[in-house]
Symmetry: C2
């Protein structure tokens, strides 16, 4: 069996960023710039402007009564100079007129007729200088998935369209004679195909574009046909089922005979059987058929691959350390990812099982807010020792100092 770390490195080596495409800035949330370095073509702000609603003045004239000589609104196109002894009403964001060197806020001014009584000001008061946020020529580096504030920064320097990595197209294939679509009635010994919809959701969650392939029976030629067709349009294919040691595990055998197979057993719990290979030049990750194993292995292996294809690094999850409150048994040969609830209490992060740890128990995974990683070698997660936790769900740390 491969260690998780070796498998992870070999898989990541196969993940190449997708080619760039142009999208309008308004649709760029969560996308990743093909080139994270952006050079500003303009100053922001482009001109000295007022930080307050008030009066543009010559500071030397203050405090005192000044002759009111007009008004400047945001968006004004031409400016008359402020002469000595005068003040001009000015709105937040409006350009500072020539001659003026300060703004007196309305709160400390009184306007009566054509005269305004203003409080004291020193040069620069409530003036936002041109280029104080960004100067033309500045290099702005945005290597992460674009957030609303990053989008605002790009908008402020006038960029209406961005070159981003295309969302990886991830084809999903469920295999198994026993599978029936969710929503359809079950005959004897059939089960619902939970993996198709859940893996598609997991792909979407990590920023990929899922494509559900037609489900295949446990039949080598059918699996080969669907994989070959799916490989044409996909950046990655994720299958579930058919990768174990049984005689009807055809995903593995199809990869071996019609494509290439890289490795297929890894020392993780749940999820030992994993086939990684390629067909028609497209990487195929063959997950176990059991939904718990499929989703945990997706989290550990497929999620970072889709992120790498999108131009990101790592798994994008919060990692913590937590200490179990009870002993949780595991297979000593494999690194276990226990389904746990982590919480903060008395200055410590604790973990307790979110339910049974059998790989056939799906509800504990849905109820867990973290996976607790317990290393190879140990036969249990022990109370009193801390382990790395991969946070998957809501967590309140407001009182953790």
């Amino acid at each position: 069996m491969l260690t998780l770390d070796a498998a992870y490195r070999r898989l990541l080596a196969r993940a190449h960023p997708t080619e760039p495409e142009s999208v309008p800035l308004a649709e760029a949330l969560g996308r990743v710039l093909a080139d994270p370095k952006v050079t500003a073509a303009i100053d922001v702000p482009g001109f000295d402007n007022s930080a307050m609603d008030g009066y543009a003045v010559r500071a030397a004239d203050t405090p005192g009564g000044l002759k009111l000589a007009g008004e400047i609104t945001a968006g004004a196109s031409a400016l008359r100079p402020v002469e000595p002894g005068t003040a001009v009403r000015i709105m937040t964001g409006a350009p500072i007129p020539p001659g003026a060197d300060a703004v007196v806020p309305v709160e400390i001014a009184t306007e009566a007729d054509t005269v305004v009584e203003v409080g004291a000001a020193v040069p620069g008061d409530h003036v936002r200088l041109a280029a104080h946020d960004t100067r033309a020529g500045d290099e702005i580096c945005l290597p992460e998935a674009l957030t609303p504030p990053m989008i605002a920064v790009l908008a402020s320097i006038g960029i209406g369209e961005v070159r981003v990595r295309r969302r990886p197209r991830v084809a999903i294939l469920s295999t198994g004679d026993e599978l029936v679509d969710v929503g359809q009635a079950l005959a004897s010994f059939q089960i619902h195909d939970a993996n198709g919809v859940a893996l598609a959701a997991a792909v979407r969650e990590v920023g990929g574009e899922p494509v559900l392939l037609p489900r295949a029976r446990d039949d080598a030629s059918e699996i080969e046909r669907v994989l070959t067709r799916g490989a044409r349009d996909a950046d990655l294919i994720v299958t579930s089922g058919g990768v174990s040691v049984g005689r009807h595990d055809h995903v593995r055998s199809v990869l071996e005979t019609r494509g290439s197979l890289d490795f297929w057993r890894i020392a993780v719990q749940p999820g030992k059987p994993l086939a990684v290979g390629a067909i028609g030049g497209t990487t195929v990750i063959g997950l176990p058929g059991n939904p718990v194993s499929a989703l945990v292995v997706f989290e550990l292996f497929v999620r970072p691959v889709v992120r790498a294809m999108s131009g990101l690094t790592g798994d994008g999850r919060l990692h913590l350390r937590a200490t179990p409150t009870t002993r949780i048994a595991k297979d000593p040969q494999r690194r276990a990812f226990l389904r746990v609830t982590v919480w903060h209490e008395d200055g410590q992060m604790h973990a307790r099982p979110a339910g049974g740890q059998a790989s056939s128990q799906l509800r504990p995974l849905a109820e867990a807010n973290a996976l607790l990683a317990v290393p190879e070698g140990a036969d249990a997660a022990e109370p009193g020792r801390s382990y790395e936790a991969i946070v998957l769900g809501p967590l309140d740390l407001a009182h953790w100092r």
Copy 2:
């Protein structure tokens, strides 16, 4: 001025969950069930099945040589009983045939011709019992936004369509004579409309459906016309600009004269001017025009409102406490939300300014991974004291115990 907490309570009282709609389970990622309690109609699994590829046996016959009497694959439709002295080849997930009470894994069995030599087994070995994950009639409670594992649970109990809250439609209106679309050239004293695209992204990020209204000039009748039309189809309207004390701040005045105005100044920094009201029965939240203020006030007020309309509570952010490494000055009258970088080192969470704290400095907000909340009364965030941090971006806590 209203305190932030009072404003928050008054605003949340206006947020009503949207009506439910049915969506296919495959499209339900991130959606919220209208009724979080789901009753399982079937057992999961529906039948006793094998946890391994191996041989279904009578445990009392093991260890020893057994006559091989056929094979059961997953999806088998009829089962012959396992007679004493015989074994049946069985695949993972396939039903346990009558008579058998254990499975011997292939790893400890040797098949030769019509005989299989099996290792020892006790009753129940490698058998997953029917209903051990979920029993028909069990109530499953899923109150949070649906995750891939929750979708798998719903699929496993055969639910192909779910009733979820409709995504709140949030109309976005930018106001200001000085604004120009991003991507267009600026004339003198114009600026790009960063708020339109950034607020739309923020709405999408929190699960709402943004609708960009045509931008309005600083003109009361134009603003009234756009707001009235926008109110017809929106669950919420978010405007930017026109809510301060200036004579050209028409959003506030339109709400006052044509709809209703609830309050309009709150003790937060950045973001003092805030108008909350209604027009045509739709709540309007009037944000400041400055993009930093608009996005911070969105974070504090609009985000929880859109979540409440979606059926969720709180802001969905990780909250921590962090200690500044330097003094960061603030307005003592208001609660400040400083743009900071938080990180973990030497067993502590630290915070440093992500850049200048002027509300006209947008890049520090894009570079910050947290907002540090410093209470009213204090004139600075002080080193040596810890403050609540609202985490907005990537954070590595892997080594925090």
